[in-house]
């Protein structure tokens, strides 16, 4: 966990266009953000793409970061990128529905690349609803407080707590 003063210095460096500061931010957050994308998409190539997009967005949007929790801000950008991906996937699915093309299943359920294997957790996560899955991953990888997560999701903190509790309890049952 990086010291908040050091992080503030890095962010100042990023705002002034220092590539070394950006590199350090990438080193600090790439793993967690990648895990977040991977657990939501279940696809390595797609996660690679989304992670690249996240850090490109970071360069473009760093000037709009006005303080507060940097992790909260970064994961909000990550969440937006994931939702944009979902929307584009929906559009593609609709187009495929119209044309009744066989490859629909390949897009809705991406195949593993190379020697990637489905792990048990991923299989069980796919059985959960998308919103709960995203909440669990947001909490686990962003390490944000429930208050911050509730604010990000624009819902009462009690709702966030209840959803996460139900979701993790269900995941535990599924995994047993």
């Amino acid at each position: 966990m990086v010291n908040s003063d050091d992080l503030a210095q890095l962010i100042i460096g990023c705002k002034s266009g220092d590539s070394k500061c950006f590199s350090q931010i990438v080193d600090m957050y790439a793993s967690r953000c990648y895990g977040y994308f991977y657990r939501l998409t279940g696809n390595k190539d797609l996660s690679d793409e989304l992670l690249s997009e996240l850090f490109v967005k970071l360069v473009e949007k760093i000037a709009s970061y006005k303080g507060g929790s940097f992790e909260g801000w970064l994961f909000r950008v990550a969440s937006n990128i994931f939702h944009d991906y979902l929307r584009s996937k929906q559009r593609r699915k609709k187009m495929l529905d119209v044309h009744k093309v066989q490859i629909e299943s390949e897009i809705t359920e991406p195949k593993k690349s190379g020697n990637e294997q489905f792990d048990l957790l991923e299989i069980q996560l796919k059985r959960m609803d998308a919103d709960t899955r995203e909440l669990i991953m947001l909490r686990f990888y962003s390490q944000l407080s429930f208050k911050e997560i509730a604010k990000m999701r624009s819902e009462p903190i009690g709702t966030t707590l209840a959803k996460l509790h139900r979701g993790l309890k269900k995941l535990r049952e599924l995994m047993q």
Binding site: G17, F22, S23, V26, V59, S145, L161
Partner: protein
């Protein structure tokens, strides 16, 4: 992955649940998160990280150029707007004298004086004109008071002629 807010979790649940239920909920969450820790997601490739860093480095100068270009465009837009406003204003000012013609009250002043830039000469003309008017006034006053009546009608006629002559001279200039 340990949450930095675990300490407050029970307290948070106790806002909505009884102490026992809160404790149970915290345990459910901790066990669920333990499963996530036991099944870590793959790490991003080093190659991917290197590519991301290279792309960031590549985009930074572009971003700076974009900022410069944006500033230049803004300055150009502002300059264009100022020039348009200036052109429109000038055309309006140019049109006004032509459209409205001579200002009405200029007719009470001789054109020569009105358009003249020689203030000293104009003042001298006005001074002479004023003196002549004053002389006529004096003569009229003396005629009205009956002083120096020699031939009333001819004197009045002379004064009128003199006044007309002065008036003509004045407007000729």
């Amino acid at each position: 992955m340990n949450s930095q807010n675990d300490d407050n979790l029970k307290e948070l649940f106790e806002r909505f649940l009884s102490s026992e239920q809160a404790q149970s909920s915290v345990e459910d969450i901790q066990k669920g998160e333990q499963i996530l820790r036991e099944h870590p997601a793959p790490e991003p490739d080093n190659m991917l990280i290197a590519n991301i860093k290279a792309e960031i480095a590549m985009r930074l100068p572009v971003k700076r150029t974009n900022v410069f270009m944006k500033t230049a465009y803004r300055a150009a837009y502002a300059a264009a707007a100022i020039m348009i406003i200036a052109a429109v204003s000038l055309s309006l000012f140019d049109k006004n004298p032509g459209e409205s013609g001579p200002i009405p009250y200029s007719s009470i002043m001789p054109t020569a004086i009105w358009e003249s830039d020689d203030i000293a000469t104009d003042d001298a003309d006005l001074a002479i004109f004023t003196i002549e008017i004053e002389q006529i006034e004096d003569e009229l006053r003396s005629l009205q008071s009956g002083e120096g009546i020699r031939n009333g009608d001819s004197s009045l006629s002379e004064l009128e002629m003199e006044l007309v002559a002065i008036n003509n001279d004045f407007w000729k200039e």
